[in-house]
């Protein structure tokens, strides 16, 4: 990433969003440094409201909420980011192949994509978790498939536009083969918009992961996930509201931060696109 992209984060809101994301990621990486364990129960400490010892209070088993929250960040972020990465890789391959080969293959891919597009993502994800079984692998695959259509569609559209560019014909006139044109011209030029949309989709994926966790289909206890914590807290919303409020806030603030940072990225890349420059 060069200078103009960094410029997008000079303004306070994108900068704060990026800072928050860095903090959450750091917390997820360094989660083991917490003085508490996320899975050791201490029933005598249950239902403590936020205090100096437990900054965000404790849950119904007396576990430190902040510790569980940052361990939950580990689960939520790794599941969403991995799922989106799988989705982007498969979607790009599928979309590029559809645009490149055309014909019946393109029609088959387009029809399938349009069909899955017409279902809510949560429905696709629920069906897949039901097939694969609950747990982190199940949710990961479910989220990856739920967003596959989006990246397939976007890549296909990008490649179709790029295919008509004269520089592709120019490469062909020099004797370039299909592999060269695909890997050196088409995919690199299609990458930027796909990556930006992947970043925005990661926000949605975090919500989807939390939703599946809320239904008890995500990471299984005692491993914490933000959705699972909210689910446990929902029964205690009047007795110990902090148990549901903090994971909920965590999801909301993180997703908003991703969207704001993503928007800034889109804006900065658009300027570059007008100049027809590199990323």
């Amino acid at each position: 990433m060069n200078f103009p992209v960094m410029k997008a984060f000079r303004h306070p809101i994108p900068a704060l969003s990026a800072l928050w994301l860095v903090l959450v990621i750091l917390a997820a990486i360094l989660a083991d440094l917490s003085p508490y364990d996320y899975d050791i129960q201490a029933l005598s400490e249950a239902y403590r409201s936020p205090s100096a010892a437990h900054w965000l209070g404790t849950d119904e088993f007396g576990r430190d909420l902040l510790t569980r929250l940052i361990h939950g960040a580990r689960t939520s972020l790794s599941v969403s980011v991995t799922a989106i990465a799988i989705s982007v890789a498969c979607g790009m391959a599928l979309g590029a192949a559809a645009a490149w080969f055309g014909g019946w293959f393109d029609r088959a891919v387009t029809v399938t994509v349009d069909l899955t597009w017409s279902f809510p993502e949560i429905l696709i994800a629920l069906i897949l978790v039901a097939i694969i079984g609950p747990g982190t692998t199940g949710t990961m695959v479910a989220i990856a498939v739920a967003y596959l259509a989006q990246f397939t569609r976007l890549t296909r559209a990008q490649i179709l536009t790029l295919k008509g560019e004269t520089f592709i014909e120019a490469a062909r006139s020099l004797g370039a083969g299909n592999t060269h044109i695909l890997t050196r011209h088409l995919l690199p030029n299609a990458l930027a918009p796909v990556l930006v949309s992947a970043m925005l989709a990661t926000g949605d994926a975090i919500i989807l992961e939390a939703t599946l966790g809320f239904f008890g289909l995500g990471a299984q206890p005692p491993v914490p996930s933000w959705g699972g914590m909210m689910s446990a807290g929902s029964a205690l919303i009047f007795k110990a509201p902090w148990i549901i409020i903090f994971p909920g806030l965590m999801v909301a603030v993180t997703v908003v931060a991703i969207n704001l940072a993503g928007d800034a990225l889109v804006a900065s890349l658009d300027i570059k696109a007008k100049l027809r420059g590199p990323i």
């Binding site: 120019a170 490469a171 020099l174």
Partner: protein, 313 residues
């Protein structure tokens, strides 16, 4: 001079439409075009937009597959070549494109753009700076991206890329059409110099008759996919009424020499639905009933023309 390129009966038919309830429609983009191009010659191809001249350029380089006809490059039948042999043959023929804005990959640096011809042919690229200098650009530009360049500079890069593998034939597809007039002159001067230095052969596609007259040895005039006249010299007086009309519509820089423009009347017939006779008959002041029923063929002679009532020399 031996013929570098010989084209016989080259035809391209495009099909479009053809769905569930629609019959496919066929369009003859290039119809039975024949010509030879001698080594070192500059052959111009002129005609209105949509007359098939760009398609002809791409057919000659086999960027589009012809429907019929023969294509010989330096004695080799281009249509019989295997994909691998054709790829190798592409070292000897190159193309400069009309739009210098979309003919360069925006992500590449100039050095990468100029290295590409060598990379795809499995050769080690030489110093990009020297290649830039042959087209009049500073060697220090090698690390720039196309978006940092003006249209004229980009077209120079396009020319440097076309000449990278030292081709014999260069097809120029309206290389100056999207440039300012002052830049056009520079590009034409550059092309002239490179031709003299390297003994290049040009197929020069253009709609600018003035430019063609200045730059070309012979000129093919195309109308709706077919050659209607071959001017043996660029300044030869036209024999076909269409060529005469084209020349009359050309802008004369000297106001004293300007005449009233004899605008062509009538519509160009749809290429999907050509009339049975001469394609130009509907717009031609000299058309007779014969022209509307039979299609004239290109006669053989020192100044071939496809017309029943040609103008006198």
């Amino acid at each position: 001079m031996s013929d570098l390129l010989s084209v016989t009966g080259l035809t391209k038919r495009f099909q479009s439409g053809g769905g569930l309830f629609q019959r496919p429609r066929a369009m003859m983009a290039v119809r039975e075009v024949s010509f030879t191009l001698a080594r070192g010659e500059v052959l111009g191809v002129v005609g209105e937009s949509g007359c098939g001249k760009s398609t002809l350029a791409r057919l000659v380089l086999r960027l589009i597959e012809p429907t019929g006809g023969e294509l010989r490059f330096d004695g080799t039948d281009l249509r019989a070549l295997s994909p691998a042999a054709l790829r190798k043959m592409r070292q000897r023929m190159a193309m400069v494109f009309q739009d210098p804005y979309s003919s360069l990959d925006p992500r590449f640096t100039l050095a990468q753009i100029l290295a590409e011809p060598f990379a795809v042919q499995g050769q080690t690229p030489p110093d990009p700076g020297a290649m830039l200098e042959t087209v009049g650009l500073p060697a220090t530009m090698a690390q720039s991206h196309p978006h940092q360049l003006s249209g004229g500079q980009r077209q120079r890069v396009g020319i440097a890329r076309a000449l990278a593998l030292s081709p014999d034939l260069v097809v120029l597809d309206e290389p100056t059409a999207s440039l300012d007039v002052s830049i056009q002159a520079q590009i034409v001067a550059l092309l002239t110099r490179l031709r003299q230095d390297r003994g290049l052969t040009y197929l020069f596609i253009s709609h600018d008759l003035g430019l063609v007259r200045y730059f070309c040895d012979r000129v093919l005039v195309m109308y709706l996919g077919a050659v209607v006249e071959v001017l043996p010299r660029a300044d030869a007086p036209p024999r076909h009424p269409y060529t005469a009309a084209l020349q009359a519509s050309a802008f004369v820089p000297d106001p004293a020499q300007r005449r009233t423009l004899a605008a062509l009347t009538g519509e160009i017939p749809s290429p999907f639905d050509l009339p049975p006779g001469c394609a130009f008959a509907g717009r031609c002041p000299r058309a007779s009933d014969l022209c509307r029923t039979r299609r004239p063929a290109l006669d053989q002679g020192p100044h071939p023309v496809a017309c029943f009532h040609p103008l006198k020399d």
